[in-house]
Symmetry: C2
Subunit: 190 residues, 2 copies
């Protein structure tokens, strides 16, 4: 699938991602850098916390959601560029061993009034665990190029990605290293 321009999006379109497994090392590595609180860092301290066990930072879940979204067939021309979220909630914590996937649906498509080469799509994005329970839900406003010369100039950006796709859960035995990623190319799920 090549990149999609604003004209290629319609309300009701749905996109699904592959899966990514969260393990303890990923969770604590992310938390150490960005959210160093006991319930994200230490199993014993986490058991005494409101969560009753180790959980991923909500921002880690959000970051992994982005990783999964990049690999979907959504592929807006010019890339996935979020202007903001209308709402965002974390209805349930993510725990070691959880396998996450993302489903999203286009809920609005409109041209920009001020920038004729652009438009906006509104996307409801749900991150689910292996029990199909939502762990993150947000509505994001994304900037998308219109099918025009201006848009065309940016087209190559989404077509020459140098990296492979998301690791499916079955292959994700190694922790996600942020230094030397061991991401293998694989097919995205439904």
């Amino acid at each position: 699938m090549t990149a999609r321009y604003l004209e290629d999006f319609t309300v009701g379109q749905r996109f699904g991602s592959g899966r990514l497994r969260m393990d303890t090392e990923q969770i604590t590595t992310f938390a150490f850098a960005f959210d160093p609180q006991p319930f994200h860092l230490d199993e014993a301290a986490a058991r005494r916390s409101i969560f009753g066990g180790l959980t991923a930072s909500g921002w880690h879940t959000a970051a992994v959601t982005m990783r999964l979204l990049v690999e979907t067939e959504l592929k807006p021309a010019g890339g996935l560029i979020g202007a903001g979220l209308d709402e965002c909630r974390w209805p349930r914590p993510v725990r070691p061993g959880d396998e996450l996937r993302v489903e999203c649906e286009v809920i609005e498509v409109r041209p920009s009034k001020s920038r004729p080469a652009q438009g906006l799509i509104k996307l409801r994005t749900t991150t689910l665990n292996q029990h199909d329970e939502a762990v993150l839900v947000y509505v994001v406003n994304m900037v998308v190029q219109r099918r025009s010369e201006a848009g065309e100039a940016l087209r190559h950006l989404t077509e020459d990605r140098p990296f492979g796709k998301v690791v499916l859960a079955g292959d994700a035995q190694r922790p996600l290293s942020l230094q030397k990623p061991n991401l293998r190319t694989t097919k995205a799920g439904p």
Copy 2:
């Protein structure tokens, strides 16, 4: 400062963080793992993009914002636990060399109707660059313990953090390594 319970928060309270400098290695390392798009990974490709140069993933900015928030004097009892965001926008991109800091203000304080040991505070959080321009603004709903036995049991969680404070910009010459953090203890700024 020890942990703050719901009763310790009032509308209008403001908290400020230290500063963290974003460099190219941090930006591309985060992007490689979580947001592998050309404008976050490669300077030449980024120059041809809508951003005109390398920018940090918006989720990286959000993660760094969390890191800075953890180190403020906000320190809710039980930890910083966000239930969700009412709104969130990235008004301006973050570029290599930018120094980020966070300002936040309590805009609502209320007890939980369903959980007597808890309450919620609403916090408007603004992440600013070195030119005092907003790069991320969100309103977050945080779960906070009430001053009660239930809350007291969680108190130690915010008081025995094993790690130091955020690196001030002047010390942040080394890239933020997610494997072996070189975070030095330092005083948080205003």
